[in-house]
Assembly symmetry: C2
């Protein structure tokens, strides 16, 4: 993977294991990085690739809570997602389930760790686990890397602008 | 694995993959099998090994709901568990997260499929996925097989008695 910006996305899909691992640093304090995940008005400004409209239907960002949102493309095609928050610990940890309703009953579980790097910088570490390697591969081949790269670029723009 | 009863637990821990897979047939209709998972008053009569008391603190068995319970042994030692229900589909499918609070932040996701075998018989198929192979192995070495074997024997007794 080549770094195209100072804070590039590092994505790792280990061979033969159903994981998606990633890391991304941000020029923003960890509390701001966390808030951009906690507040649906902020989330809808960055999550997903450029050019899609995000509508949040439900966003109960607490331990035991749940979420539902729709991404809509230029043609008006909706892509619906939903999940549960197993754990939400402020500025530290989120463990959540994730389902794209276009692939019903394929549910992954994602651990997001928020790391304070000091000097107003932070790092996001993600570990997603799929039901099997085949569904992980299908997810990876669905344009996921572009979506994540653009999403985190938009998040960085948001954090830099609002800082 | 040797069958010790007519409907024995089949447990499979694939080498190098973070899964726990199992199957168990029951001499009971699928609706009864599902109800024994849905109703906390029934669940507390069978879930887990013999000799533990189960106390259910929260049991919102719906899509987006959550649960918390405690198993207490003869010495009064509590073992606490909690999770979220990503999907609950009556007589068909449950997808839930699972955490033993003695191993904090190690969260697995379990898919339970309820199969109607006809003639008043049914089958439960489980697929649990752990964050990595090491935590799967730790879970497997914690007496899990005994707990599951005894738990499903108790469930069969409950289903046979109440039928």
């Amino acid at each position: 993977m080549t770094a195209t910006t100072a804070n590039a996305l590092t994505l790792n899909l280990p061979e033969g294991l159903p994981y998606i691992d990633f890391e991304r640093e941000f020029d923003a304090p960890v509390a701001e990085l966390f808030r951009a995940h906690a507040d649906p008005d902020l989330v809808s400004q960055w999550l997903g690739p450029r050019g899609l409209e995000m509508t949040v239907h439900e966003y109960d960002f607490v331990t035991g809570g749940r979420y539902r949102y729709t991404h809509t493309d230029d043609d008006g095609t909706p892509y619906r997602f939903r999940g549960s928050y197993h754990t939400v610990r402020e500025n530290e940890l989120v463990i959540q389930t994730f389902e794209f309703e276009g692939a019903p009953d394929v549910v992954s579980i994602e651990t997001l760790t928020f790391v304070d790097l000091g000097n107003g910088r932070s790092k996001l570490v993600g570990h997603s686990v799929y039901p099997d390697v085949e569904t992980r591969d299908a997810m990876a081949e669905s344009g996921m890397e572009t979506g994540m790269t653009e999403g985190y670029e938009r998040l960085e723009e948001l954090l830099t602008t609002s800082a």
